[in-house]
């Protein structure tokens, strides 16, 4: 599904290199988790995959279903099935959440040559999905993320994911700042979307999210690359012992 090969990325306006030869393969239908200290480049990786400005890819490639992502506009990547749940969802005053969702959904359908949803069809769908995420009518009407609590913003990200039905979902610290109940709602939302043709890349600091969203593969990332890959037990090991040992094995320290 997603294949990142030897990806090197620096900031466009500075000499700072952030990704230093990143390799990662996420198979179709699998859930991969990435853990790693702050500043490892996890968010940068997800932004680069989604096409945010400000970064320069100096080497390497990233493909989705065999198609080169890095040549596409952000909206083309979305239509191709990529979705990023933002670590910090963006507030957009004056644009209703519903309008936003409908515009996005129909734009993607149009880009894929599919029929756009009518207002009625859309409403039915969004109400159904919102209900399972405990998103009420008021939250749907309000401007995108404006005045939403941290938990509401994250649930809103999952609602977008549920509506857009992407093939490859990247969740960037979707659990951070959530209490136990909110995290369970988010995890249930994600689990409901698990499907044989859909893959997930879950970026998190905490084992606790992975208790709810069970990963097939766990990667440890630091200093712009993947240091180690293993099964779910790797997450437990990090939870108990921290990153120090793994970092040390690669000649790194927990400098930050």
């Amino acid at each position: 599904m997603l294949e990142i090969k030897n990806l090197h990325v620096k900031l466009q306006d500075e000499d700072k290199v952030i990704l230093k030869g990143m390799n990662l393969t996420v198979e179709t239908g699998k859930v991969h988790a990435i853990m790693g200290p702050n500043g490892s480049g996890k968010s940068t990786m997800s932004y680069v995959l989604s096409g945010r400005d400000g970064y320069e890819v100096t080497e390497g490639s990233a493909t989705l279903g065999g198609k080169e992502l890095l040549d596409m506009e952000p909206e083309e990547r979305a239509a191709a099935g990529l979705f990023l749940a933002f670590q910090y969802p963006v507030e957009i005053p004056g644009v209703g959440n519903m309008t936003f969702l409908r515009t996005a959904l129909n734009a993607q359908r149009k880009a894929r040559g599919e029929e756009e949803l009518s207002a009625g069809e859309f409403l039915k769908l969004v109400r159904e999905k919102a209900k399972t995420l405990k998103i009420d009518a008021d939250m749907l009407k309000r401007p995108v993320n404006v005045g939403f609590s941290g938990g509401e913003k994250k649930r809103n990200e999952i609602l977008q994911m549920a509506m857009l039905e992407p093939k490859m979902c990247i969740l960037d610290e979707t659990d951070s700042g959530l209490d136990v109940d909110a995290m369970r709602l988010v995890a249930d939302g994600v689990n409901a979307l698990r499907a044989p043709d859909r893959s997930f890349l879950v970026i998190t600091h905490y084992q606790r999210l992975l208790d709810h969203i069970k990963p097939d593969v766990v990667h440890i990332m630091a200093d712009g690359r993947i240091l180690q890959t293993g099964g779910p037990e790797l997450a437990l090991e990090v939870e108990n012992n921290g990153y120090a040992e793994i970092l040390a094995a690669h000649g790194l320290t927990e400098a930050k």
Partner: protein, 411 residues
């Protein structure tokens, strides 16, 4: 501009007084404090610069039950207008009617209002207006009145003056649409008695070559409500002045505007000049002005909240903002507060910014194409101004027009 001899028959003393005021003031120049950013030369010139009428727009407010009053190049067109009878409202023409109830009122609001802003074009208008309506409302008007200004002649130079009086507790929604002429001078005096409610929605349509200087003069008695929203598209030069005098207690006045200009269609210069005076207790005023500028367009805002001694518990708010869609465009703002009472809450702010890159990326990452995403962010930027329109149907119409404009002006 039009000859005084061709002015309407009534209001001779009022017109004479206005002509004298104009004589004393003289026409404005760039050295006048409130004309520093807007060059009045083409407005001062004896003849207008020729202007082609823009392509026909989708008819505005078409689905709305309203009383239509049509002016073609500034002349009332009875054939195109509805019958001027409306329950709760008396409507007569300035050009042909005896002054009646308006005697002694015509020109009064224009002549008073906040100093030190000189308003020579308004005095000129009072002196020389050739047509317009005298509207007296005694109850809740049965439906909105829509003044439709049609621009046909390349050299039309209309001067229209409307005088509107809402008696105690009366209500009216007034709609104005269309460009009116090659050069348009309009004054509208609105006198609101106790508890009267006046809503004004105006669309200054995409008529690229027109020039316009317009004035609103409002006077509010106790608990009166005045709400005005203007949407402006293009136009070589538009100066919209509003002077609101809140004389009564518990009055509320909101003046808002959204202007969108693309200099690539020709020059674009839009000027909002707004002066609100609080002279009663517990008055609430809001000024919300937003401009979206591209292709070398220029927007200016000069606005003041004046709180007179004794106008305690005033709540005054003013915001002027611009969204610059490229580096060529320019926004100039002069926000002012002048406060002579101690127990008041007043705030003002002015900002200039570009499209928020983070928001743009967020929308695009959801699959919204770049230009559509920019359109959404423009609507997002304008939302506070549009929200000043209370009526949902009118608001929808305004948003639809905005979307049309945005669709025609992709980068």
């Amino acid at each position: 501009m039009a000859d005084a001899l061709t002015a309407g028959p009534g209001f001779v003393p009022e017109r004479k007084a206005a002509a004298e005021r104009l004589g004393a003031m003289g026409l404005p120049g760039r050295r006048d404090e409130y004309w520093r950013w807007t060059d009045p030369a083409t407005l001062n010139a004896p003849d207008p610069k020729p202007a082609q009428a823009g392509e026909a727009e989708a008819p505005l407010f078409d689905a709305l039950d309203r009383l239509k009053v049509v002016f073609v190049d500034g002349v009332f067109d009875a054939g195109a207008s509805d019958d001027l009878s409306l329950a709760g409202v008396e409507i007569t023409r300035l050009a042909t009617s005896a002054p009646g109830w308006a005697e002694g009122l015509y020109g009064t609001l224009e002549a008073t209002g906040q100093v030190p802003v000189k308003r020579p074009f308004a005095a000129l208008n009072t002196a020389q207006a050739t047509d317009g309506l005298l509207i007296r409302v005694t109850a809740a008007a049965a439906k909105p009145i829509n003044l439709i200004y049609v621009h046909k002649s390349e050299t039309s130079d209309p001067i229209l003056h409307h005088l509107i009086r809402l008696e105690e507790g009366a209500e009216l929604t007034l709609l104005e649409t269309g460009p009116a002429g090659a050069r348009f001078n309009k004054a509208m005096e609105v006198d609101l008695a106790k508890g009267a409610r006046f809503h004004h929605i105006r669309i200054q349509g995409p008529d690229q070559e027109r020039r316009a200087v317009t004035h609103i003069f409002a006077r509010l008695a106790d608990a009166a409500l005045f709400k005005s929203f203007t949407l402006t598209f293009n136009g070589v030069l538009t100066r919209n002045e509003a002077f609101v005098e809140m004389l009564g207690d518990d009055a509320m006045a909101h003046v808002a505007g959204a202007a969108l200009g693309d200099g690539r269609d020709g020059a674009f210069h839009h000027d909002d000049t707004v002066f609100v005076t609080h002279d009663g207790l517990r008055g609430e005023s809001r000024q919300v002005f937003k401009k979206v500028l591209k292709g070398g367009a220029i927007g200016t805002f000069q606005g003041k909240i004046l709180v007179k001694p004794g106008a305690q518990k005033t709540d005054g708010y003013q915001i002027s903002q611009s969204l610059l869609l490229d580096d060529d465009s320019q926004f100039l703002a002069k926000p002012e507060l002048e406060i002579y009472a101690d127990d008041v809450k007043c705030s003002h702010g002015s900002t200039t910014g570009a499209i928020d890159e983070t928001a743009l990326f967020y929308l695009r990452s959801r699959g919204v194409p770049e230009e559509d995403a920019k359109g959404l962010l423009v609507l997002s930027f304008l939302a506070d101004a549009i929200d000043e329109i209370e009526d949902a149907a009118l608001k929808e119409e305004i948003v639809a027009r905005l979307e049309d404009w945005l669709a025609r002006h992709r980068s």
